[in-house]
């Protein structure tokens, strides 16, 4: 905690509605109230397709809320903030840039000199274990390696707010566990606040200080659980602890109901 007492992220009654191509109004999220403290790791879980990602786009400034307020560092969000990092679900690395150049992109966009950007990029590539790959193009890497490039490219900007939208959902189970551990390591050094969206409850408990359960869409916060598992954690080990299983059961009793509702609505709009 710093001397500034305002929380890192605050959503006050935030809502977002989109116009669908057919002209109808689709409410993605409604009446969102959520506070993320400084340096806190918050995981957001909910049924697939419920509007979890929309929450992130509101915080990032990529989209504006149609209702309510979104505050970052006590200030209302206007456009894309400079202290925000975003790791996307799909590959968002630039395919025509080499690995090194991809990681340099952030500092270069923000006006850093080439030499300085290169130095910082190399430092982060070393931390994600990709130093030997800096001259490769993304298509020459595995999915896990590309994800690590994305992590390095995000962390190199020193974001105090880190938003992650199901970042590891496309990876296989082993790579995912590896990446989760690596994320915890990387994050531990930065003191940044994280909002991590996932539909995987295990992943959320293993990573987070706080798990937010969302309702079936249009989503709003249903319940918030504090995870009191000690850090540092290793995701594959923490999973086996009795306390973990206890928490899992407790949260699932809340989340399971929403998942059921989503399923009953049919597979048509929530795949």
């Amino acid at each position: 905690m710093t001397h500034d007492t305002s929380p890192a992220i605050e959503l006050r009654g935030a809502g977002k509605a989109f116009r669908t191509p057919s002209g109808a109004l689709h409410t993605a999220v409604r009446e969102l109230d959520l506070t993320v403290g400084r340096g806190e790791f918050v995981a957001v879980v909910g049924p697939t397709g419920c509007g979890k990602s929309t929450t992130l786009t509101l915080v990032s400034g990529l989209e504006e809320p149609t209702e309510g307020e979104v505050l970052v560092g006590g200030e209302p969000v206007r456009g894309i903030g400079t202290d925000v990092g975003f790791v996307f679900q799909q590959d968002a690395v630039f395919p025509w840039r080499t690995v090194l150049s991809n990681v340099m992109a952030g500092p270069r966009f923000r006006g850093a000199a080439k030499a300085e950007a290169r130095e910082r990029a190399r430092d982060w590539l070393a931390r994600v274990g990709l130093s030997a790959f800096e001259d490769r193009y993304p298509h020459q890497l595995s999915g896990g390696q590309r994800k690590r490039v994305a992590l390095a490219a995000t962390f190199v900007n020193d974001p105090s707010i880190l938003l992650m939208d199901e970042p590891f959902s496309a990876l296989d189970v082993q790579t995912r566990a590896l990446m989760s551990d690596q994320l915890l390591d990387l994050w531990a050094g930065t003191g940044s606040s994280v909002v991590f969206v996932t539909h995987d409850l295990e992943e959320s408990i293993a990573l987070a200080d706080k798990v937010v359960v969302m309702t079936a869409g249009p989503a709003t916060v249903k319940q918030v659980f504090t995870i009191d598992l000690p850090r540092p954690r290793k995701v594959e080990e923490v999973r086996l602890e009795p306390r973990f299983i206890e928490i899992y059961r407790e949260i699932w009793s809340s989340l399971g109901e929403e998942v059921r509702i989503t399923r009953e609505r049919g597979t048509g709009n929530a795949a």
Binding site: G85, A92, F94, T98, A105, R110, A132, Q140, S142
Partner: protein, 288 residues
């Protein structure tokens, strides 16, 4: 450290008998395909020649391969009625290249601009559609009146033919940029200008390049038609003159020369493309 980062992909181990057999099969297939290609060419030319010589088709109207060969030989060694063959080829190439460069530059710039700026697209969209719907080749006579018999009128007709395919592809390319990439760039701190130059243009290059292939052919058409209508130099004029003197071999010979020129230009473009797209994964079956 992660296990993957330590190991680089290894070259395959020493070839076994099966890999050798496979390599041989691939080689045999390549030879077979090339052999059949030659056979087809020889059959078509042979039949043509045979029919013409035996009078099945009228050699005066349809000519025959040997005469076309002779005609090309005469032009190469003794020059054409309007100067050396090299000068004719160069005149046409010069007009086509100029027209192509101008058309491509204008097409790419306007395509990207309209693709990026919604307002411009909304204002100019309908006009572009109307212009595109016109059969632009009929503008060639007008250009002849405006710009005279020199290269300028041919360059102008090449430009109008080249501009539209390039424009539409650049426009589409700028529109279809992966939204994730744009969002990512913006989060990483890119300004609008940086998004245009470092995200939109690189992702649109693939689109633009497909149109470059087609459009060079169009620029040649523009130049040739322009020359055909009225010129002092060029392959199009060769065609027109041969036609005027009822020399069908000359028309065919000019076509052959043109095909060679077009193929050479295409090859050059492919070479540039390969260098520019090193970042792209090689797609199976992509090479022709």
């Amino acid at each position: 450290m992660l296990p993957e980062s330590a190991t680089l992909p290894q070259q395959p181990a020493k070839p076994t008998d099966r890999t050798a057999a496979r390599a041989r099969a691939v080689r045999n297939r390549t030879l077979l395909v090339q052999g059949c290609r030659l056979l087809v060419l020889a059959a078509v030319l042979g039949l043509w020649e045979w029919f013409a010589r035996t009078g099945v088709i009228d050699p005066f109207n349809f000519s025959m391969p040997s005469r076309i060969g002779d005609q090309i030989w005469t032009w190469t060694t003794h020059g054409t009625a309007q100067g050396s063959l090299g000068a004719q080829v160069w005149a046409t190439l010069y007009e086509a290249l100029y027209g192509w460069l101008i058309g491509v530059t204008a097409g790419v710039l306007l395509g990207i601009a309209l693709g990026r700026v919604r307002f411009l697209a909304d204002v100019f969209g309908p006009y572009v559609k109307v212009l595109n719907a016109m059969p632009r080749i009929v503008l060639a006579p007008i250009f002849l009146i405006w710009f005279g018999l020199g290269p300028a009128s041919k360059i102008a007709s090449a430009v109008v033919l080249v501009f539209f395919p390039v424009f539409f592809n650049a426009f589409q390319g700028a529109r279809e940029v992966d939204r994730n990439l744009v969002a990512n760039a913006r989060i990483l701190g890119a300004s609008n200008r940086q998004v245009t130059f470092q995200v939109v243009i690189p992702s649109a290059t693939a689109w633009i390049f497909t149109s470059l292939h087609v459009s060079f052919g169009f620029s040649l058409i523009g130049a040739i038609v322009g020359e055909y209508i009225g010129a002092t130099q060029g392959i199009g004029l060769l065609v027109a003159n041969s036609q005027g003197t009822l020399n069908s071999a000359g028309v065919y010979a000019a076509m052959v020369i043109l095909a060679v020129v077009a193929l050479a230009a295409e090859g050059l473009l492919t070479l540039v493309e390969k260098r520019l797209f090193r970042w792209k994964p090689v797609q199976p079956g992509a090479e022709r």
